[in-house]
Symmetry: D4
Subunit: 246 residues, 8 copies
């Protein structure tokens, strides 16, 4: 019995207030919310659910994907290995796979456009896969992306030569492993919020991205938001959320 | 000699290109930039520099504060202990001190208004000082603040009863110690970006906020930006930056 | 407007279903739930809320305590330092303070009795304050407590000489710092579930209780539940919950 | 020589008290206890020993299993990989293998029934293998299990829609990786004790389950018992122990 | 009833074997063992129990000390602060206090002599308090001690100039903070077992002795035994145990 | 030129004191010492050098082994994988390989006998490889070994049933993973020094042996020496050193 | 448009100062700097860029290498696996590959000579690959190298026998895993600056080089510079920089 | 008896070679080396020993200081608190105390001059005490110092405006807490070796300087040497060593 039915029945006095209360007990957390949230998600973000491919079987991924597509929604699968993609390929022929980003997308309806360009920077070339995941996500959610790769602090001039693009960007995603200094330097140069993505690029005392993560959390200039190590999707999603604020 | 003077002199041929080059060598990084950045900062953020009071002597704080006020700027001093405030009081009589937030403000001109309300949530009452620092910062930078305190996940209904305010907020700052679950739960409920602030509230295996920090970095729902432990100022600053995006 | 009022108004057709839906939107999470949870808590646990004294001002503690007592509930304040107690003493003259446990209790109505005795063990004498906090909590919630202190694994015979009491206990709380081996040894001897409480007793490589915590999480025999370092209250509360299961 | 024989011989004065003392020296720890504990274990838990398959050779597993089955006991092998199972299959044809849970069971006699249903929750789909291990263990030990999977805090409504089942459960096992917030949220909703199982699901700053583990140890609401990362068996065993308390 | 009494009664047929069994059930772990262990401890180590002063009240220390002295045993109190000693002084006038070692001793009977000298080395002067605790312990337990302080690896010649004493020592205790290299170097020079004691001397990346501890655990030459950070007593006790092996 | 030659030449006035000083400068550290240490090692330990096989190529191992055997010494290669052994087999036909211990030995002359038996205990069956490495090492160095496996604290009676053997052992090596409680329990029962070997057996919060390591370093009873995680060789070597003390 | 052109145009009044300012805005960070830095790098270090091979595809490495060689520069590729080298071999036939050091070099012009010899020490044989990387780097950058391997502190005489070479070295690189004591011992013996390279050699509590890293950071004697774990290249590069100081 | 006396006596045949050998046994490590090292230290570094004041009593500091001054050497005491200085003041009236650097110096003879200026940079004002310790050390050891404070990456222009001074510096010491990015940025700009000093400035996830330390160890550009957290003295000493290389 749906909430609206309960209310209707109460209005028509087919239920007493006591009976209605009993039915409502624990109810609104349930179907109403379920429907409401889902609907809202669809309306405001253009996608009902993003599929995190890692740790799922090809079959699980396929079932969830079909369920999403059946509702007419766009589809984004992240952390989809080349091997898994090969298995899925035939069943999802409409899917566009980005090997660097390990992501697959199906666009059925154009997402709402973000308000300005999102710049995605990397400190080195090894950080590019994480940046590409962020880029695919931003693009999937309707944002324009400016990619500026390999501009780490070891050669500051490389970064500074892109000063104009940095100024134009509405939001900046800065992806870096090793000492993770890029977001700090960028945040000191521009007015845009900077989303810092530590990567596991490095060895030894990088401790799989911990060094970069801690550096970013301690960023001296204000305006730096940190996400999890290697979380390109999270950075892209957060950037898009901000970029769609009215 | 200012950059504009150099250029003017060159134009008027009072300098040769060689002389100008010599003067410019290393220059533009200096005064021009210094001025430019300062100016830009002033224009877009309403304050030239925020004073981090901790670890500075009263005298150092006073000198920096006067230099800021002399330029006609607003002043924000964070992490200013009650003791330090008592010392400063007479010399900065116009300062408004918030004891919970350990912050002092002087407003000389009204800051540009943010575009929507920023909701600041805490999981418990012990998280309030960090939240207040965020609130003071938001307010100082021209944003409206909605405070919703003590709505941690131990009693979900307390949070859910503020559902409307959460929906209205343009940006949400969620402050939590212990298991740090509040930002995850909030991010699953609303469309606004959530800035997660772990606090050092707790004992034992909270490891001075590490538990909350890690939880927030691993937040399952998208749209969560993490800042350093107890960094209320950083959260407020980031929120304001986003809230002033045009 | 209360939920029952909304339903009543709807039943009497003073509201249309649409108007009711609007009023209900976000509502039931609020007062109804708030009341329900509180009430349930009261009914099944004998206390509406336990006050964690640490990090609260004497005034805050007093306000919350009075609010609890006014409802006719029993009162438990944990982590209440001797200094704080001295301040509270006159205003809460009916409070019984346990200095070792740093806890204050006011019993206004007898709590529901637990089904069997709870044995509380410590490895050493320095673990006793944590054990006492657990004991006060168990007692406050209506459980019989058997205290067996200083029975660490350095002298196994001390533990084994209490074999009968261990067998009789329905639930065992084992409190230990240093190498934290006590819960493992006890769990190998008895059928009762063992709640393991690591303490920060020790120095050097005990890392403030981390060594004991890790040991307990890796306990070889089954049936060991771990709580946070020094969390005597949590252990007592969990034990009581299990002991009141019908 | 058995203890009863020693006593009989002493009673019949075939041994002097001195001789008996000598024989008893170190003795009762030995065979008597060995037998007693074994017997007790059998009587109260329905299984003499659970075989932890990981790190054991197929041959070792087989020998232990046969020794257990020969005594007429039920058999549970945990952490048994598919490969190891394939090797064992023919020699243990009566074994029932659960691939998700990586567990094999042989039931020769019905275990004593637990007193109420145990609900097993997971935050995500990747947590299911750990939850299945807990489920197999609960089932093996005579408990009814309610499985509620994929109800993490990112979509609170999914959890709340199972409110009734949560209320009916006598004990709840909450399995979660990433930020590990599920047990905290559940413990705030129900009266049942909650056994929290952190999983190694996640990447980067999840540090192989450390983030979830710390979160659970710092759980704000009372009544949460924590076990080791990925320890589904331990959670099921603990739950069953509690569920069989008389 | 003592074990010998039970056996005697059984022998005299005042008890049946069944009655005896009942009385023995759980018994031998108890009083017999208690007495036996205590007695053995006394016989082989010359002290019934060492009092760890830290975290105990003056009164607790006094009670335990008197109980030990009453049995005619020697007394060692470790980690006894100067303040605590001042309180105890009058009540334990026979106590000899070593301020550097923070230890108090009362010798009532000469302990059994160890078989050879124990050399105690420190890397620096700040490690001396820990070394003194080891020295007091060794001396208290009947061992000759050779102290060689401030011979860290920064000036190898200082260590090498004591080569003869190192060769004569039966056991060597090497105490070091900072990089903790002393035990490794010493173990490469001599045949004696080396007991390595990391100290919390240092700052920054010494992490309160963790650096020295890890170094010692990874000692390349064989024959190095490690104890806890700052555990001078433990090192002395272990050395004495080895030195009294027959 | 040897030291004795320099002195002889000086005595015979073929060198002036100044020339001798020059030749001595830096000298004694060199060849003399090299020979002396080597010789001493041979005399007192029965083996010139133990080969750590891990991380060395088969060829490197072979060269070092031959050099050792050529001197007439016994040979011990530790951490020699089955694969590496297969490669070495033909070239070292006299080698005796212990697969569990991953060790190869060649005995050319009987080592000096240790003074008493060394007991080697394990908590579980998975700890046996580390224990076997210790056993091979003890045996290689001339010690009698008593193996007592699978006597972890989960079933105390299993340990206690070996009480006599524990009492007879001159030194005890206790090998344990998980919570690492075995050495603490054993040290509380016997007078022998206990060498504690943490193993990496476990998962999750065992953190590859860290939990066991910390537990052992915090061992409450005195007389526990700790070596590195999985360091069976180090434990055996240390035990033998102690066992050969005159 | 180059900076000099702008200035020239301004001088010739082809640009107004306003136009020049606009062109200069953000400019000098860009192309000028880009060129300048590159040029300086080439002039002072003899190589435009070192290629870090790890994590790059063969094709990426080849492209970068060709671009470097085309400019007439020398080429150094570090962390180039044997597999990757096999792929590259034919396309870079002039490359000289050092398998131990996993490095490839192409020398087209002789680098500027360093001022004195650089000694490279290792504690053990397993540290040699890291040392070889340092050696290849030093050699590539024009320095003479003295290799002194396997001189760890377990046998001090081995190190001391090389005292003369240590004294002659202008800079010393000390490579060590396990307890990482070598740099401390060396720094106490010589006047040269010591560059300490921790390696991941070891197991258990070496925590992949953390133990050695911490030891080196806490080195008691002054004059020790630390680089990242296994960073042979970094050590060689730093040594060469110092060795080329005028 | 001195080494020269032994040799003289041998030459004069007052000693036989056997007697000389006996006297030499263990000797040369001793006085000869002791004298030699001391002398060398004096010659090349201008100070026989630097006194680390922390953890020493005023009396110990005074005794060591007097012993150093008596030899005619210069004196440097580091980590000397204001309180300790007040106690020492009268007894060391010639001492010059730097309160920020917490260092006391006495210059009795001019130290050998370093070859070029050493630039000391800080990221923020709170890093100045560590930088001052480095500056005092550099100055004490005969080096010219250029101080450039508060040039952290949050405002890059501040650093770039000192480009000329950076270029002129022979060695750069970069002191930074928080994200510790300064050394990386500087190393990318100049040819001088950069000594990176992490400081404990910060809070939360700076973990007392760990974040900065890890960042510096992972510095992307080559040529960065890292010292311990807050180790200003170590940085100054290392810089001076390099600056005095011939």
């Amino acid at each position: 019995m749906l909430l609206t039915e309960i209310l209707e029945n109460l209005y028509q006095q087919k239920l007493t207030p006591e009976q209605a209360l009993q039915k409502l007990n624990g109810f609104p957390y349930e179907d109403l919310d379920f429907a409401k949230v889902d609907h809202a998600r669809e309306l405001r973000r253009g996608t009902p659910e993003v599929v995190f491919g890692q740790g799922k079987t090809t079959r699980q991924i396929l079932q969830i994907s079909r369920s999403i597509l059946k509702k007419g929604s766009n589809l984004l699968i992240t952390r989809l290995s080349v091997e898994a993609y090969k298995d899925l390929k035939r069943q999802l022929p409409q899917g566009k796979y980005n090997e660097l980003a390990r992501s697959l997308t199906v666009i059925k309806k154009k997402p709402a456009a973000g308000r300005g360009p999102i710049a995605i920077l990397t400190a080195g070339t090894s950080d590019i896969p994480v940046a590409e995941e962020a880029a695919v996500t931003c693009d999937f959610l309707g944002n324009d992306v400016i990619k500026i790769f390999d501009v780490g602090v070891a050669g500051l001039h490389r970064l500074l030569s892109h000063y104009d693009e940095l100024q134009q960007a509405r939001i900046i995603i800065a992806v870096a492993g090793l000492e993770g200094a890029l977001p700090s330097v960028v945040a000191g140069l521009v007015k845009a919020p900077v989303i810092a993505v530590p990567t596991s690029v490095g060895y030894g005392a990088s401790f799989h991205g911990l060094a970069a993560l801690l550096a970013m959390l301690n960023s001296c200039p204000g305006g730096v938001a940190v996400v999890n190590i290697d979380n390109g999707f999270g950075a892209g999603y957060l950037a898009s959320l901000i970029n769609h604020l009215e």
